[in-house]
């Protein structure tokens, strides 16, 4: 159970703005999230939670500190290796869905497999299976523009799933959805977490959404302010 999916040790991330001003987005974060965990990262905008999510998602490298994802030290990887690690271990769900509007739901879902070199027939088969598992078996050939917001986000979740990641990062997944669709999407994420054992990390500033997670990590000014589940083992039941 307590295999770390991602482990950050005193991670900082600073940006140099034009004119030489250095901004510290993260100023020393240590965090361990195990496989099968369900955590929410919460904090006001500008707190550094997006930066943290980018780091956890291998989209970025820390300025200092160690970051281990699926056992690999991110700092030692080059861009190509990082892309591969992302492809194999991380699934993303974005607030604005980030689907390509001109291709079908199946093609959108199959996209991560393209960069893994999976043969076309197998890609389509797995993409269909993923869409069926999120309840969109009847929308395989629809384009994103022909789908409702909730459906689009479920396509995005199917896309995150299709590559069978160990870590699923969801950035304000319900931010663009109505209440009912938001609830559906949250249920889906919870189900994935329990059924497939995927570690889910939610980034949100919606307290209702955060309340459903089994662990809440609160960030402020680039530091962890509170972490009610540090040292794992879920002891909280899913809130209704």
């Amino acid at each position: 159970m307590s295999e770390p999916a991602v482990e950050a040790i005193d991670v900082t991330r600073s940006y140099e703005l034009e004119g030489g001003v250095v901004v510290n987005a993260l100023s020393g974060v240590s965090l361990r999230i195990d496989t099968g965990e369900y955590a929410a990262i919460i904090g006001p905008s500008g707190s550094g939670k997006s930066t943290l999510m980018h780091l956890l998602g291998c989209l970025d490298r820390p300025t200092t500190g160690a970051l281990r994802i699926a056992g690999a030290d991110v700092s030692s990887l080059d861009d190509t290796q990082l892309a591969q690690l992302r492809n194999e271990t991380v699934g993303f769900v974005f607030q604005s869905f980030q689907l390509l509007p001109r291709i079908s739901a199946t093609a959108n879902v199959a996209m991560p497999l393209v960069y893994r070199g999976t043969p076309r027939a197998e890609r389509i088969e797995r993409a269909r299976a993923a869409l069926e598992s999120v309840g969109l078996g009847h929308r395989l050939d629809h384009r994103p523009t022909q789908l409702s917001g909730g459906e689009q986000q479920r396509v995005a979740i199917a896309r995150a799933l299709v590559s069978q990641p160990t870590l699923l990062l969801a950035d304000e997944p319900t931010g663009n959805l109505d209440t009912q669709s938001g609830v559906d999407v949250m249920r889906l994420l919870e189900q994935l977490n329990t059924d497939h054992g995927v570690a889910v990390i939610l980034v949100t500033h919606d307290h209702e959404v955060a309340a459903r997670a089994r662990r809440r990590i609160r960030i402020r000014d680039g530091l962890i302010e509170s972490d009610d589940g540090a040292h794992s083992v879920a002891d909280q039941s899913v809130a209704p």
């Binding site: 992302r86 991560p112 076309r120």
Partner: protein, 394 residues
């Protein structure tokens, strides 16, 4: 990412912006079509000239006053009729030397008139040149010696002046002087756009009297074999140098004439192709420009693809294929357009366009190369985009 997938994605992106893709291709289309057409016309003209010069007769050496090189100034002829014998002695065969003095004159039969080239020649012309006689006979040595007023008509002159009537034995008035027709030529082609079927041949002596001149314009010598040509050229020039010290003469073969004309036409084709290539270059810059716009427009897509595991190289290849696809499709359309325009030109106009196998291939290769060359910068920019920044772009 597999190549086939990158190809599909690129094709899809081009289809998404049909009009823009087409307009971008237009530069390449025009450039490639221009290259194909101009090369076709250039090489067609060259082939036509070669065919015509070869039609003059084999192993022929033309002797003219002055220099035949490009840029050489034409000079007045000092050759005279006795030079026919001089060259006859020099080459050892009087029958191998032909002469010509030409002038344009008004020719009349009854109420029909034509203005055409009167060619004063001697009896050896049928031997030296390929000018077979259709009916009657050619000018004889006796005709030349006694300045007989006899004429041999080219096929088109005969038709214009006499229609379907057999002209042999009839009278024709050349510049006010009556000549008797003794023969007609077999139909031949034209040389450098001049219709040789319109020519009328008369004895050189009669022509000199008619034109009021003592000179002759040129001499032609037939060498027995190709190998003997250089020696004969030297003997001709030596004999003329001895007789006319200080004057310059040229004794050139068809190969040399061909070489000179080929040089001129080759240069011309090159210049035309270079001008066309400039438009291809401009087309390439257009492709580069549109690719930059496309990269900017699709920044979020690039960010997403990278987040999902696309490597820098995957993105670069995708955009590079898109650029190459643009120019290659443009190139193919350009070739189709160029080839059909060339075929139409040679069918509907006197331009002898000839499609060489290499020019469409070259044009296609160059246009694909242009795509790579001008696509690399935008594609690299796309590949290097930071996914975090790209995803945040609105």
């Amino acid at each position: 990412m597999r190549f086939a997938e990158a190809f599909r994605v690129a094709l899809d992106a081009l289809r998404a912006n049909r009009l823009r893709s087409l307009l971008t291709m237009l530069g390449v289309i025009i450039g490639v079509a221009a290259v194909v057409i101009l090369v076709a016309i250039g090489s067609g003209a060259k082939a036509e000239v070669e065919k015509q010069v070869e039609g003059l007769g084999s192993n022929l050496i033309l002797v003219v006053p002055g220099s035949l090189e490009i840029g050489g100034a034409p000079s007045a002829s000092r050759l005279e009729l006795t030079d026919v014998e001089l060259l006859g002695r020099a080459v050892g065969d009087a029958n191998a030397v032909a002469t010509t003095v030409q002038s344009g004159e008004l020719v009349r039969v009854g109420d029909k008139e034509v203005f055409t080239t009167i060619n004063g020649t001697n009896e050896t012309v049928v031997n030296v040149f390929d000018r077979p006689i259709a009916r009657g006979r050619y000018i004889s040595a006796a005709d030349v010696d006694t300045r007989r007023r006899v004429a041999v008509l080219g096929s088109s002159s005969a038709r214009k002046l006499f229609g379907d009537v057999d002209p042999i034995g009839r009278q024709v008035t050349i510049a006010g002087v009556r000549f008797r027709i003794i023969g007609t030529f077999v139909d031949v082609g034209s040389t450098f756009g001049v219709d040789r079927n319109a020519e009328i041949h008369v004895p050189v002596t009669s022509a000199q009297r008619l034109f009021g001149v003592d000179r002759i314009d040129a001499l032609a010598v037939k060498a027995p074999t190709i190998d003997s040509i250089p020696a004969i050229q030297k003997r001709i020039l030596d004999a003329l140098a001895e007789k006319y010290p200080g004057d310059k003469f040229s004794a050139v073969t068809q190969t040399q004439i061909l070489g000179t004309i080929g040089q001129i036409l080759g240069l011309l084709t090159l210049v035309l192709a270079a001008i066309a290539a400039i438009s291809l270059l401009v087309g390439g810059v257009g492709v580069s420009n549109i690719m930059l716009v496309s990269v900017r427009e699709r920044t979020r897509e690039i960010g997403l693809r990278k987040a999902l595991g696309a490597r820098q190289r995957d993105i670069l290849v995708q955009f590079l294929i898109e650029a190459v696809l643009l120019t290659s499709i443009g190139g193919l359309i350009g070739i189709a357009l160029g080839v059909s325009a060339s075929l139409a030109a040679s069918a509907l106009s006197p331009l002898p366009a000839q499609i060489s196998w290499w020019s469409p291939l070259l044009a296609f290769g160059v246009s694909a190369g242009v795509g790579i060359f001008f696509g690399v910068a935008p594609a690299r920019r796309a590949g290097r985009l930071d996914p975090v920044v790209a995803l945040r772009t609105e």
